[in-house]
């Protein structure tokens, strides 16, 4: 139903103890004059008495379409469809995930389920990170890396417990995994809610606006499991057919290792900018209007994932240039 406004959904990730509950309590209790529904995986012991708190089970379903990385959150499909039947309109929905959850199935739910996509839209993935412990967590848990890799916003919490040099180090580490993420420093998750909710980070328009923050990628003592990012720029326009062939094959064969990808492409003979963004194999892509007057027309893409060096990305991208 196109005429119905889609309710934005924020996905809140982060390790246990990082401060997710503090943030959720703020969202539920602050006088913001908005109606937020919060989907949690377990009710806190204090038992928040609120009909807008919904209990979820984090059930991850594999889609029966032969794509192994195409998993969705079955409980989320059910709960979002139930929330859309309410008599009152919600301003936003917040989905909390457990500390050890992979954010991909949550994000993919919005690409895969048509009913969910019709009535709601993925707004942003917000990761609450503990400035004291993030460094060690990133080394120890895949999930911590994934949560940073997927994050549109990292709420770097407990900054009062770490000195400036330490914070710079943590930020650098975050940016190396995910050059697109916006880092907000807080002591007690006290960032204004408007910096966390309703960001529209998954819209293709936002891909055009946000400039990635690339750091020098030196590949010193990284092991294969590390999540990293790479980016490419081409001043020469690309060939549509070559690009489709390369990119389609790339996602098919390496989609599981590519956590997120974004790009703005100039194709030879096509006036409009082509914008895409993806989660694993799933992709949202569309022409997004003409290049702005006087703008530097070039093609840019970024990949965040594992084993990126094994995918010959640079050669593949270069090979798409129109002859």
């Amino acid at each position: 139903m196109n005429q119905t406004q889609q309710v934005p959904v924020t996905v809140l990730t982060g390790f246990l103890g990082a401060g997710k509950t503090t943030l959720l309590n703020r969202i539920l209790t602050e006088q913001h004059g908005r109606r937020y529904a919060v989907i949690v995986n377990e009710f806190g012991e204090e038992g928040i008495d609120n009909d807008l708190v919904v209990d979820a089970d984090e059930e991850v379903f594999e889609m029966n379409n032969g794509c192994i990385c195409c998993t969705v959150r079955g409980d989320l499909i059910r709960i979002l469809s139930g929330l859309m039947k309410r008599a009152d309109q919600l301003d936003a929905i917040i989905v909390e995930t457990t500390g050890l959850a992979d954010p991909a199935p949550v994000a993919q739910t919005f690409f895969v389920d048509q009913d969910v996509a019709d009535r709601t839209k993925l707004d942003a993935i917000v990761t609450v990170a503990d400035a004291v412990h993030l460094n060690s967590q990133l080394g120890e848990h895949h999930e911590a890396e994934e949560q940073v890799a997927f994050a549109d916003v990292v709420l770097l919490n407990k900054t009062d417990l770490v000195d400036e040099t330490g914070l710079d180090g943590v930020e650098k580490r975050i940016k190396k995994i995910n050059p697109y993420t916006k880092i907000i420093r807080t002591a007690h998750c006290d960032a204004p809610l408007e910096n966390i909710l309703s960001l529209d980070a998954f819209s293709l328009e936002r891909v055009l606006e946000v400039e990635p923050d690339f750091l020098d990628s030196d590949h010193d003592h990284e092991h294969d499991d590390d999540v990293t990012s790479v980016s490419f720029v081409s001043e020469a326009p690309l060939d549509l057919e070559k690009f489709e062939a390369w990119f389609g094959k790339l996602l098919q064969t390496h989609g599981q290792d590519i956590l997120r990808s974004k790009g703005i492409i100039e194709f030879l003979g096509i006036d409009e900018r082509y914008v895409f963004q993806g989660v694993h194999m799933l992709m949202d892509a569309s022409p997004m209007g003409a290049w702005p007057e006087g703008a530097n027309r070039n093609s840019r893409m970024v990949f965040i994932g594992r084993n990126l060096e094994s995918m010959n990305l640079k050669e593949g991208f270069e090979g798409c240039k129109a002859a």
């Binding site: 009909d51 379903f61 889609m63 859309m84 039947k85 008599a87």
Partner: protein, 359 residues
């Protein structure tokens, strides 16, 4: 079928406007009730319509609808058998309600939603998460069945001997034996939602998370994959003597034949109630008439014979909001149609000659 209603037949050349207001609509009563319609069922002498604000309205021919406040939130599911209505809500409660307004709380799951309900002769079941509770007239306390994942659908067979429970990975069928209920599993990869037994009890069919319907021949658990839908199948109904399983999820009602030894295996479905590019979201059988109502995403409703050569009749025009529920009055004289914006059309289908003409 054609005479007298030509002005309301589908205009296939109309591309944008959709279907205009119909004769049935002009004869009927329209209600704007604010909360989305979430379910409808024939119960006793009435049609019960459930809403997203927890209220139920009972419609009866020639009377004003009566309102019953029941759940404290969304009515997520409803099922009826004779004069018993069972509802489940996001307030965690499962209620048993009669058309004259006597309400009984069967269960309270607190913060957990009641997602599915089913009812038949002497039996009521509801699900909350992975649990199914079953009440039988013979026992004072419900029996609890636990499943491997959240339950997506519940259905009794016609004889009330079996309960089908759909979930991730397949359907579990609980069968009543002399002393207890015994389970058997019908496995198929993926998530299974709404589920139903064929009227003869020989087949089991579920609507999947993917755009497909899956069936099993119960005798040998042979699989029947019914796929190719452009959208998710949200609604199905058994219609006609064949019988056909009528399904939503396409720009027409897709009707799978379940006669013969092999049912729809290796056969093509019958496709009726074609509606340009609109996707059907809700279907309802008109029993004994070999006909089916199909409600669409744009709010239109068509009535079609189970015959591809006969044009459908428009029952409701394109109002803009998806059809979410439909039910017929016990005598089939009136039809209730509800949509996602909270509009209800309660309309007489006509009687005698007019009825004949329409159907």
């Amino acid at each position: 079928m054609q005479s007298g209603v030509t002005s309301t037949t589908v205009d296939r050349t109309a591309k944008r406007i959709g279907i205009s207001e119909t004769e049935v609509e002009r004869r009927g009563l329209k209600y704007e009730l604010g909360a989305p319609v979430t379910g409808a069922a024939t119960v006793g002498d009435a049609v019960a319509v459930g809403f997203g604000d927890g209220s139920i309205r009972f419609f009866r021919p020639g009377q004003k609808p009566s309102v019953q406040q029941s759940h404290l939130g969304v009515i997520l599911c409803m099922a009826a058998y004779q004069d018993v209505l069972v509802t489940g809500g996001d307030d965690g409660r499962c209620l048993k309600i009669t058309p004259n307004g006597i309400m009984q709380e069967l269960a309270d799951f607190d913060t957990k939603w009641v997602d599915c309900v089913a009812a038949t002769q002497g039996l009521v079941a509801c699900s909350s998460g992975k649990n199914v509770q079953l009440w039988s007239a013979r026992q004072s306390k419900p029996i609890n069945f636990v499943h491997s994942s959240t339950v997506g659908g519940l259905s009794f067979d016609v004889r009330g001997q079996r309960l089908a429970v759909a979930h991730y990975g397949g359907v579990t069928v609980w069968e009543r034996t002399k002393r207890k209920w015994k389970s058997s599993t019908f496995a198929w990869k993926g998530f299974h939602g709404a589920v139903t037994f064929s009227p003869d009890g020989k087949y089991l069919v579920s609507a999947m998370q993917e755009n497909a319907v899956h069936g099993w021949r119960i005798r040998d658990k042979a699989n029947l994959a019914m796929s190719g839908y452009p959208a998710k199948v949200k609604s199905f109904a058994w219609a006609g003597d064949t019988p056909f399983l009528v399904t939503s999820g396409a720009d027409e009602a897709i009707c799978w034949p379940f006669d013969g030894k092999n049912g729809p295996m290796e056969r093509s479905p019958l496709c009726v109630a074609h509606n340009r590019k609109q996707i059907a979201t809700c279907v309802l059988a008109l029993q004994n008439e070999d006909a089916v109502f199909a409600g669409f995403r744009d709010g239109s409703v068509l009535l079609a014979k189970l015959d591809e050569t006969v044009d459908p009749i428009a029952i409701r025009g394109s109002s803009g909001a998806e059809i979410t529920a439909m039910a017929l009055s016990p005598s089939k004289s009136h039809l209730a149609i509800g949509d996602a914006k909270g509009n209800v059309l309660w309309a007489p289908l006509g009687t005698g000659a007019a009825y004949e003409r329409n159907v």
